[in-house]
Subunit: 210 residues, 4 copies
Amino acid sequence: MSQQKSNRKRTETARRILNTAAEIFSESGFEGARVDEIARRAGVNKASIYYHIGDKQALYARVIHDLFGNAAGQMVENISASLSPTEKLKRYIHTLAGIVDQNPQIAAIMLREQASGGKNLPELVAQDIAGIVGIISGILDEGVKEGIFIKTKPFVVHLMIIGAIVLYKMSSSIRSKYPVLSETSNEQKDQNLKQAAAEVQRLVLNAVKK
Amino acid sequence: MSQQKSNRKRTETARRILNTAAEIFSESGFEGARVDEIARRAGVNKASIYYHIGDKQALYARVIHDLFGNAAGQMVENISASLSPTEKLKRYIHTLAGIVDQNPQIAAIMLREQASGGKNLPELVAQDIAGIVGIISGILDEGVKEGIFIKTKPFVVHLMIIGAIVLYKMSSSIRSKYPVLSETSNEQKDQNLKQAAAEVQRLVLNAVKK
Amino acid sequence: MSQQKSNRKRTETARRILNTAAEIFSESGFEGARVDEIARRAGVNKASIYYHIGDKQALYARVIHDLFGNAAGQMVENISASLSPTEKLKRYIHTLAGIVDQNPQIAAIMLREQASGGKNLPELVAQDIAGIVGIISGILDEGVKEGIFIKTKPFVVHLMIIGAIVLYKMSSSIRSKYPVLSETSNEQKDQNLKQAAAEVQRLVLNAVKK
Amino acid sequence: MSQQKSNRKRTETARRILNTAAEIFSESGFEGARVDEIARRAGVNKASIYYHIGDKQALYARVIHDLFGNAAGQMVENISASLSPTEKLKRYIHTLAGIVDQNPQIAAIMLREQASGGKNLPELVAQDIAGIVGIISGILDEGVKEGIFIKTKPFVVHLMIIGAIVLYKMSSSIRSKYPVLSETSNEQKDQNLKQAAAEVQRLVLNAVKK
DNA sequence: TATGAATGAGACTTCATTCAT
DNA sequence: TATGAATGAAGTCTCATTCAT
């Protein structure tokens, strides 16, 4: 009983730390994030972070592992084997958009990891990402075999999709800060990621369909 | 004469500082970059940086203004008004790839700026970027008017293109660090940005053509 | 009965804490020792230490009191009044060596206390040490009175003896770490404290005998 | 000219840091010493220590290297080859006492190094110490060959000498703090290291002479 | 008694920036 | 202009101690 309560307390504190850390790493990056700030916003003592999780590096590792591991899992779950390649591709894009929408931190972290060449990326997480790339490769190959997709470089298709979605997600803040970036196109109100994802679906299907 | 020499030396020193700074900001981001390291690698005294350019923020501003301003200029130059929308779109992608290829630092910096919501992005640079977005909007609109492109959200198309190219560029290092990321696709040797850009051209044209 | 068991358990826990603390204070000194480490190695919860013994200072006091108090007692016991001064002196050295050999921690702690000028030395322990010094003073005085020893400064003799024995004990580890320290003399295998003590006996007797 | 002044300033600051550090390491040991305190007492900014010397470990290494290296040099200088073994032995003890007297920090640091098994002792310093041990070994061997010394374990003789001198030096503070330690012997006023060294000379010569 | 969690104070170290020459 | 030195602010991490159960 008291064990239970204690466990709940332990995980609750750790969870609060991890969530706050995800936010702050996402806002400021690994180097820009301040452990003090994480503790302050999480409402815990700074030493608690070291007690429960470990140093800044370990904290970062936990955060991105949780984020990306979860994402990979969702992706696998959502794409049932029985679907047609076309439907799978749509689901893939939809799911990706959903993940990014529900975990707003994932977009920024992914971009920064790409920018730094994965300097802080633990092996485990690299595998999660590789899994996601593997899925789309499979879908495209399948489509080619069924004669409904043209032959493409799957990695490039993957980058187009993920690039469009992640950058769209991120651009909302930059666009609101620098209206000049939206003025040129006439879709200011279109900050809805769902709609952008639908557009990506349409464009990508056009691109790969025979 | 000595004035001239002094001027040349002055600009030469400044140039060396700026080039080194571009490298290091690109490798490590604004927060991760160390003024000491920039001075060391540029072979100048640390105080020289403050004398010639200013503080870290000013240095960063100069670097990205040089990088992006130049890019916008190249883009305008390369897309002559007389071309067909299809040809313009191809040129646009080709030019973008060329810029990224010739200025390897631009990719990482752009990603990090996106990630941080343009926290360190000066107005001037935002305008440069807006210019680039404006160009593709124009191309797509023109194609729609001529009846050869379907109606699309230009901003999404832009993100697909730039995302694919920039991420492809960056992914080379991350892929070589984590081979697992390449294993799934069979295009390891394909690390050539030119080829990826050609693929992007083909896919995007498929996507927008009527 | 349960009271008894509880008492036994209580003292057993305290004993385990004290033994471990002695080890760790000996290895690392007061400042270098970590309460966490003591708890870990003793297999008890950190708070237990505070409950059973007290804070770090109190723990240290207990440890050295146990160590030195015991030593003083042994010394008194071993030197029966009926012996000749020569025999007493031999016994004194022999006993000292025995104490140091059986309580390996005592050597390091004594050196560090000397080094710090007894900063952490409780009065009680100082008296224990004074007792030991008193004993050899008595022996030497007695020998002088009996006309078999020359007149000496007893404190210096004491320092020679204790210095040789304690430093010999400690030097084993430093010599094995830095073989260069043993190379110069040809007695590498001679790391036996007993043999060194015999040599000290011989030398000291030579030194003080008429 | 300005170079000279700058050099002087540089070495002067470094010297001040090093001297203060020697004091504080001697008072408190490596773990007990506080970098803040060193900076404060040296009258320099804390960051200056890192600029001029390096981190705490490096600072400690420099301090003991200066101390022990200097000591080894003095010892070699003072013992001219032409002297008799007896005279050399006296000089050896005298010089040791002189070194300890002039560098009060050396005694405490040496004791603590012995206590910790040379945990923080750089190789270079170990060699300095080995050199000192080598000298007395040589002296005793020479005396044996000339038939004026008995055969002894040189390392033990060395420990007796250095133990007596170093402990005597250190004991002054502990004795003044705990008068009980002096009461038993009647030589309170004898805190003069010179006199103690003379006594050591006499005793050691008695001990080793045939 | 025993223990996991919490915490404030403080330790070491780094860094951008400025100073003095 | 150029540079070695200096510095204050801040950042990461540790540790003895206490709390709450």
